[in-house]
């Protein structure tokens, strides 16, 4: 899936004379402009939630942004670590004041996980809405963005053997604040460095822990990507 997307996006760019790539920076895209990124992220959870299990949850990420008229962009994000997968699609509306850009964003995320090995016959899925705002400053080769999103869990279903448990009640399950630096690191090789501070309940990354911890926890998430 990832390779196919990479191939398609690569082809769509042949011969295109583009500006420096960015994804998170909230300046509007030109109509039909397309940028994308590949990278990896790592989320670190409190030890008392995941105990001796894997505390660092690494994921592979693909992100794309496509420009539409009227300063609107479409956004797509795919993250996977095989047993846990997230697909998000949304839109961004941008507004510019000098070299400062602002944006309103909204994404719908569908996440699903499955475990079908010794002792498990379990799968889970959920739907989230993530409204957010972002502000960024463009300083020559550096684009620095601050972004805050709210996580609204719309529904979640868990299947275990012949039984299942579902929840449809929407609830705010977290606030995610990010700082993203997008820059040239070596001869027009652009990279994005993002830090996210998640203030949230344990969520999809550790679904397999089935934590009953209902407290809001602070946990970091670091993402590094190549921009194209």
């Amino acid at each position: 899936m990832m390779l196919l997307l990479f191939f398609l996006f690569s082809r769509s760019y042949s011969g295109d004379n583009r500006s420096d790539p960015y994804i998170s920076y909230p300046r509007s895209f030109e109509e039909n402009a397309l940028h994308y990124s590949f990278g990896a992220s790592i989320t670190i959870f409190p030890r008392f939630v995941v105990e001796e299990e894997i505390r660092q949850i690494p994921m592979v990420n693909f992100t794309a942004r496509y420009g539409l008229p009227s300063n609107v962009s479409l956004t797509l994000q795919i993250s996977t670590v095989f047993i846990t997968n997230v697909v998000s699609a949304g839109a961004m509306w941008s507004y510019r004041i000098g070299n400062v850009s602002l944006a309103l964003t909204d994404d719908f995320s569908y996440w699903f996980g499955f475990a079908d090995f010794e002792g498990f016959d379990t799968k889970t899925m959920g739907l989230m809405n993530r409204p957010g705002i972002s502000a960024g400053i463009d300083i020559d080769a550096y684009k620095i963005t601050a972004k805050t999103e709210m996580l609204v869990l719309l529904s979640q279903h868990t299947y275990f053997g012949s039984a299942s448990v579902g929840r449809l009640k929407p609830e705010i399950s977290g606030i995610v604040s990010s700082i993203i630096l997008e820059q040239d690191v070596w001869k027009s090789t652009f990279m994005s460095f993002a830090l996210r501070a998640n203030y949230a309940r344990p969520n999809y990354q550790v679904w397999l822990a089935f934590s009953v911890q209902d407290k809001w926890l602070l946990f970091p998430d670091l993402q590094i990507s190549f921009l194209f």
């Binding site: 002792g119 501070a197 946990f219 970091p220």
Partner: protein, 406 residues
């Protein structure tokens, strides 16, 4: 500096403190005589909540738990633990309440006057439908003033179901000053609603079976900066000298734990979660020794060697323990039959398996499911699981759901 924030945030873990208050100067119980267990047991039952539904929900389960009386509530997996006494013919109940899935807690004080069933209960006459169990609770250490009235509804019909406290007492639920897999938490397990415990057994470098869950030492479980890496790298003397459990207790041996079970509790089931093949033979010897001790004391105590992996099962067979030791097998029903295990313990994530559990029962075996901690996941197992027991971090929650349902 993006990275700076990320790495500082790694340090941030939530503090899960909980305060369990006590009455100053011992409360009214300071001058009371203790109640006998059978007198406490007279109060067992399902009660309707007349006053206090905001705190406890609509019904509660009242049950004698060792030397204490506990109330399990339908709201927030609430728990009230009373120490019990009598002054003349008045019965005094003092202790604390708390939500085991939260941090709220406070003092609790109930009383049954001599005229209001106190005398009849002491004479062994069980409560009638008109009986009301009344008292007050408070917030934190403040004087309890919130009125609670419980109306007796019906007796508890079945107390044979095994509710096993994970790691001796539950992990998140019982955030008292007792560490997991400690002697202290084992003594508290009954008051949380458990009638059995699961404890983790692994060997030290010199082969002493100790209670410890993780393969490696970490600040999650111990204080002691020189205890780093695998537990099996350290001798028993080194472990006892260099580190303590999180609340300052010594890391206990299996023998010390079973001594506590026998002499300081009325627990009926112990599940030894064997963490290494190298400790099976010794654990089996200790299991045999303590079953004999229990028998000589007139106690019913089932001790099972818990086998969770193919490697453990292979060693169990190699040590020729099939006919002598009682095993609890977490693998397939075929493995259970192969080693003649007495208990099948599938993980709950396989879902309820009522047909298999019924088959196990027809073969004279029991089925315990592990580790169930959420109400919505517990209910399908209680209502249609054909189970004999549930391992949980929240014994109070399982106790409420099971006794109230049955």
């Amino acid at each position: 500096m993006v990275v700076t924030v990320s790495i500082v945030l790694i340090s941030c873990e939530t503090d899960n403190s909980i305060v369990v208050p006590e009455f100053s100067n011992g409360g009214k119980l300071a001058g009371a005589l203790p109640l006998e267990r059978k007198q406490i047991q007279m109060l067992n039952g399902i009660y309707d909540v007349i006053d206090g539904t905001d705190q406890f929900g609509k019904i509660v389960v009242v049950k004698q738990t060792g030397n204490t009386l506990s109330i399990f509530t339908g709201k927030n997996a609430g728990l009230v633990v009373f120490h019990c006494g009598k002054i003349d013919s008045s019965l005094i109940f003092e202790g604390y309440w708390r939500y085991t899935q939260g941090s709220e807690s406070g003092l609790a004080q109930f009383e049954i006057s001599a005229e209001d069933n106190g005398k009849s209960l002491l004479r062994g006459i069980p409560p009638t439908m008109s009986f009301q169990f009344r008292g007050v609770i408070g917030d934190a250490s403040s004087e309890p003033t919130t009125k609670i009235t419980l109306q007796y509804n019906r007796p508890i019909s079945d107390t044979s179901f095994v509710i096993l406290a994970h790691r001796g007492g539950g992990r998140n639920s019982d955030r008292l000053a007792e560490s997991e897999n400690s002697l202290g938490i084992i003594q508290l397990a009954e008051s949380f609603g458990a009638n059995g415990i699961e404890i983790d057994v692994r060997p030290t470098k010199d082969g002493v079976p100790i209670l410890f869950h993780d393969e490696n030492f970490s600040p999650r479980l111990v204080d002691g900066e020189y205890c780093v890496g695998p537990v099996s790298n350290y001798t028993f003397a080194a472990i006892r000298t260099l580190c303590t459990l999180k609340n300052g207790e010594r890391v206990p041996t299996l023998r010390e734990a079973l001594d506590v079970v026998l002499n300081k509790t009325t627990l009926s089931v112990v599940w030894l979660d064997i963490k290494s093949p190298d400790v099976i033979a010794q654990a089996a010897e200790i299991q045999k020794e303590y079953k004999q001790k229990a028998s000589s004391m007139g106690r019913t105590l089932d001790i099972y060697l818990g086998l969770a992996t193919e490697e453990l099962v292979a060693r169990y067979k190699k040590e020729d323990l099939i006919t002598s030791a009682g095993a609890l097998c977490e693998l397939s029903v075929n493995n259970v039959r192969d080693i003649k295990a007495k208990v099948w313990a599938p993980r709950w994530t396989l879902g309820p398996l009522p047909a298999d559990a019924q088959q196990m029962r027809s073969e004279g075996r029991k089925t315990f499911v592990w580790t169930l901690d959420q109400r919505e996941f517990i209910l399908p197992f209680i209502t249609g699981g054909n189970l004999d027991g549930i391992l949980t971090n929240y014994p109070a929650l399982v106790a409420f759901e099971y006794y109230a349902f049955h």
